[in-house]
Symmetry: D2
Subunit: 311 residues, 4 copies
């Protein structure tokens, strides 16, 4: 399908359910996709950070793409992460996404290698040239250790290299600069700005962001869809109340003991545990080397769900 | 072949020559391997950072492994980098290295994902369990954004998870702590410590490091072999003079204009340009999105070579 | 005066005008204070980052405190930064602020020295114990290289160590967590949350922040007061338009050539140049070792002002 | 006294003994100075990081300067740290050092404020212009968050802005580049390079460093003097053995529980506890907000001392 310009709404980064022996659990994945579509989400982002793309071998990635694209069957656009260290490796993932029938590619700046704005620009230009799919830039300095500058994003938008930005930098001032910069320029139109922040959806939409890619949207997609609709309808007070409810639920990302695991293990473990407790996926396992939640931590996730009326 | 315990000597991280259209130039790679073996190096490290592993798709990586392992044919050990973001992806590269006949695996801590010492430990343990080849840890905080702690390295050495460390952290105090810690413990023996630093080989060997993995060793392998032998023979003054000559030659890594490219583009571009000017490889191209050296910068590399009597 | 709990409104971080020979220009400082008070600001923050506190010797700091506190004479609260590396040094500045008659102290976590959450907590507790003035925490990870955690801030608020937070971290999700956390806890009341972000005032206020500390508020205090009032009145659309106008004006912070100066030189140089061009201060000099704007860059600041109708 | 060019030997960064109520314990400080002079050190560095300069108010700093300069009375050169955020504040400390009769000033790049190479250069130039004392640059990226580039250091050396470098960056490759660069240039002579690394003194001296500024030298000055003399005499094997013994003793810096305190609290607490246990100073207190060692941790320091024959 042709992706809308701009793409608007709730586009959850789809978790990747795994079997106990760490294969992709495609049956659970299909149920998760249905769980999201039923809630009314406007698109799906597979193979991003919340999908554990960094942990998944290419075979797993292909299974995810084939399963999701096949099951969605054009009901909503499917954006595919092409997460890898540099251009040629990203292009292989982009090819796989094209082959699977995804609707757009999402790529970060190069990482592992030390990089430079000129190299980041060249990277996106080469990807856009080589793939027939529209390209989103994924700004994620916590993982990639470089920040996409506003001027660079706007230049690449004006040159039709990028159709959009997925901003998970947490820098709302920078997000707004891109939104206003794109609006101010005659040579940019239909550029999509999505925020990755779970806690600031109402304000990002009020600033003019087109949509949101919330990891917590796996757990409570109805909540984010409701929030989006309230914002779209201009009902700010009820939007704020819904957002604040979701902020409370988001507390689950910190259930994991920081002496025992990293914050990623805790957050992804909490999302998958919540999906397991809600009956959407069969097994809450996260990919190695992440540390599993303890029984006490699982119980705490349950309390967050119960508190939000989701159990 | 069985890798020596410890592995000693000069183990250059082999550059990956590319054709102008960015395929692996296997003929040039064979010439480069011969250039290194003729100089008397004691092992080869393929698919590390100086090999542009971060930039190379799996097919390129396989071509490198097959070409080098096949051509070396057991003359010296071949260590294979298995550079990827997390455990399952690293294991795929490890399998490919086993299939190609490499003699050891070299892996970093997880990256892109935020990590934790417990996760780093689990990562190396899972890799070691799953692969029949000996495992080296690659400490490269500039790329990986976490530093391997001395205690963690020693614990993994004592548990036979790691057979060695390739330390490219630039932290010589930490390097020495590992060397002295391994020596002091009864439950560690034959553990290999290699330094990745081009500028401190004489001092690292004097501290007790077993060998060196110098990117500049592609350009002047005779120099590093001579330096290693002088150190082994205890001829400190001539060792220092040779090291200082190599420090001068190393200046080539900064030929690239920092306004136009990152330091990686400059350093790898300089090494490959030097190999091209010396007639070892056919084409100095570096992988996208790296920025090529300008003609003036190429000329400057030539001056470094001429100054060192290498042209 | 007793500081309101919470403190609400626009509290500009007052620039410190300097003479050409780098003394405090108290006459210009008085004019700047009048310029701000006339615009209707609700408080003043002296000796923060925008005041160049890091650059000013103690004698300069005292001159600023005496001048501003004396001239304001209780019309609005004056918050005084006590910016220094660790507890005892901060306490000296706090004493000076008490002596000058300031209404509150603003302090960061320790910096230069590597720190730890337990040390940060102890730092704020010792400052609060030793000073009779209310204490605000200043979260500024770009300068201080540690981030104040939500839990730490709330614990210090509940223990009456902190009366408020000035959040210049740029992390709006974290800001919201503090706001909601403070609201949710019975043991916290009257806690003030101020944002340092110029570009997200409307959204921060919509989230429940009490006020704003905008560096750009030196240049256009009427704009920020208008924005605050529109937000307070619930007129979201006009608030957004005013905020977007101010976002455009904020572009002046990037007039300085990044090849020639750091971003601080550029931003503070632009603010002071704008104040000079608007006739508020006599000399746009910034403190050493900052690099002055070039004539072309000054002209560009003038264009921003003209575009905003401020010339 | 006129400082030698270059300054060579062991120049310990003198700890600052405190009374239980956190005043400078000048009697203990005098004993510590005697402890160091008796051991044969070649100079003293006061008000550096190991002196807790970041924690000490100006009055404390003055007490340290007056006490040490007065007691040393020209027997060895006294270098005085002028540690502060930016130029004008550093100049105040430089003036105090001149007034107290110190022999040289040691200053870092600006910190807290974001900086730029042009601003760092200007900073050192302005300090050198304004003070009659010779100026050393202090490279300490762990505290200052910028690294002094080799080219910048050499340019400032050639322009007679800097007489030396105290390198606590831990980057031995960079240290060597400065040493070789200074030696290679005709426009630089007598430039002093001191390393701050406790663990790599033998190798730094072998590279051509002029001296060493070891925090651990407070605890075991005889050891470092012996090490220096062995290196100077070219007795590499005994130098290495002495260095390795000191590496073992250095393990005391990690006695503090990282769950309870930062690494600075642990290291400075260990040094002061060791001085207390050895009877040199009256009280092991470190300045707020550092966390004191527990009785168990104190006992562990004692074991390190006993193991080294220092109790």
């Amino acid at each position: 399908m042709t992706i809308p310009t701009p793409l608007t709404g709730v586009v959850p980064p789809v978790c990747t359910p795994l079997t106990p022996d760490h294969e992709v659990d495609t049956a659970s994945l299909v149920r998760l996709v249905d769980h999201l579509l039923t809630a009314g989400v406007h698109g799906l982002f597979v193979l991003g950070s919340s999908s554990e793309a960094a942990f998944l071998p290419d075979g797993h990635r292909k299974a995810v793409l084939d399963t999701v694209v096949g099951h969605v069957a054009g009901q909503v656009p499917v954006l595919a992460g092409a997460i890898d260290m540099a251009t040629l490796r990203v292009l292989e993932h982009a090819k796989a996404a094209v082959a699977a029938g995804a609707d757009a590619i999402v790529a970060t700046a190069p990482f592992y290698t030390r990089t430079h704005p000129a190299e980041i620009s060249r990277h996106f230009r080469l990807i856009a040239e080589a793939t027939p799919l529209p390209l989103f830039a994924y700004d994620l300095p916590g993982s990639v250790h470089s920040k996409l500058g506003t001027d660079l994003v706007l230049e690449l938008a004006a040159d039709n290299v990028l159709v959009g930005l997925k901003d998970s930098s947490g820098d709302e001032g920078g997000l707004r600069s891109v939104i206003l910069g794109a609006r101010a320029r005659d040579d940019i139109s239909g550029f999509t700005v999505l925020t990755g922040g779970e806690l600031t959806v109402d304000s990002a939409l009020a600033m003019g962001a087109d949509g949101v890619v919330p990891g917590l949207g796996n757990v409570d997609p109805e909540g984010y869809v409701r929030l989006y609709r309230l914002c779209a309808a201009g009902d700010r007070e009820r939007a704020r109340a819904e957002q604040e409810r979701l902020c409370g639920l988001f507390g689950m990302v910190d259930v994991g003991d920081p002496a025992r695991m990293g914050r990623g293990s805790s957050a992804l473990g909490a999302f998958k545990t919540a999906l397991h407790l809600r009956g959407v996926i069969d097994c809450p396992a996260t990919a190695a080397p992440q540390i599993p939640l303890s029984p006490d931590e699982v119980e705490l996730v349950g309390k967050y769900l119960a508190g939000a009326g989701l159990l």
